[in-house]
Symmetry: C2
Subunit: 187 residues, 2 copies
Amino acid sequence: MARKKEYNEEEVVEKAMRLFWRNGYESTSMQMLEKEMGINKFSIYSSFGNKHGLFIESIKCYKSKIREMFENFKNASNGIEDIKQFFYDSVSSSFKTDEQKGCLVTNTYNEFSETEDLVIKEEMTSFMDNLKTLFIEKLKTDPSKDEETVLKQANYLVLAKHGLAAAARVNSKKEIEDYIELTFKNL
Amino acid sequence: MARKKEYNEEEVVEKAMRLFWRNGYESTSMQMLEKEMGINKFSIYSSFGNKHGLFIESIKCYKSKIREMFENFKNASNGIEDIKQFFYDSVSSSFKTDEQKGCLVTNTYNEFSETEDLVIKEEMTSFMDNLKTLFIEKLKTDPSKDEETVLKQANYLVLAKHGLAAAARVNSKKEIEDYIELTFKNL
DNA sequence: AAAATAACTAAACATTCGTTTAGTTATGGT
DNA sequence: ACCATAACTAAACGAATGTTTAGTTATTTT
């Protein structure tokens, strides 16, 4: 054995994740990552292979960060009201850390949409699919809704979430809240 | 006087605009632009100064392309039904040319959100503000709506349009249509 | 027809990108 | 205590970026 790493991989990945979130993949350079992560380029490369590997790891980090939020959402038992709360939560969390822009998933999907990067693409669509599945689950708690309606409304909510994510920084908090209210008015 | 230009500036700008639309600003290189526009780098630089200048010109081109659509929308006189039609139109136009991804405005706003590029930023917010103004105008045709409701619903529609733009390629046409239906259900 | 000038081509430019390499420092086991 | 080895620093790498320059071609004016 030999010398120990002077940094914690999980910690530096989280820092990278936030930087990627702020700037997107292409606009985040290795120099910026070096500074933000507080470690040398060599260390980044020996820990994560290359920039792409670091990004994948950042996505995984995001995933685990978001898992808790999803878990809470999943375990709640007030149907549509939970979805609504989820909307509010996701907004307030992106207002809380107001450096972050919108939703990492939406941003990343947009940036990689023209590439052939299937790993990234599948990771992103899996995020969206999971969300849709949760919405369906919640909507099903209302027995008066037939299957078609549930699916329709779930798709609607996924798209509404997209709108929220895309506009979370350009619109005011009040506008966002009004939007959520109206979104749930006829569900 | 001397030699004439062998290309039409308007034509090549439109080609540049479509390329920027597909790839975003950063991911579109001068080499790609050279090929797509069909003219030499030198010609691009002598006509538009630099890459940024060409992009500004591309935005102006987009603006004039969209103006017609906006004008039609403005002159229609069926209130909310016109807004709904506008939603369908903007979706079908982005499905028609399925190379284009979502909405140029939303994409650009996302890409430039972290920069200090005020020219671009203002150009983008002006697009959004114009849209909101039109929505307000349409919603006002219903005398039963008070001013607050109109404003609230206009904001709602702007955000819904965002969601549509962000998800126009990842979701199926049917899902998009259902989304539009539900969006207008309680307006 | 010749001179002037603007538009063309293509190569070179400096800079930045992601990545690698060479050399140093620190820590582990024997 | 010493050697092996892993983690560090910093400089260099080639490729790609946006931009400029030098040199050629074509068109207008006199």
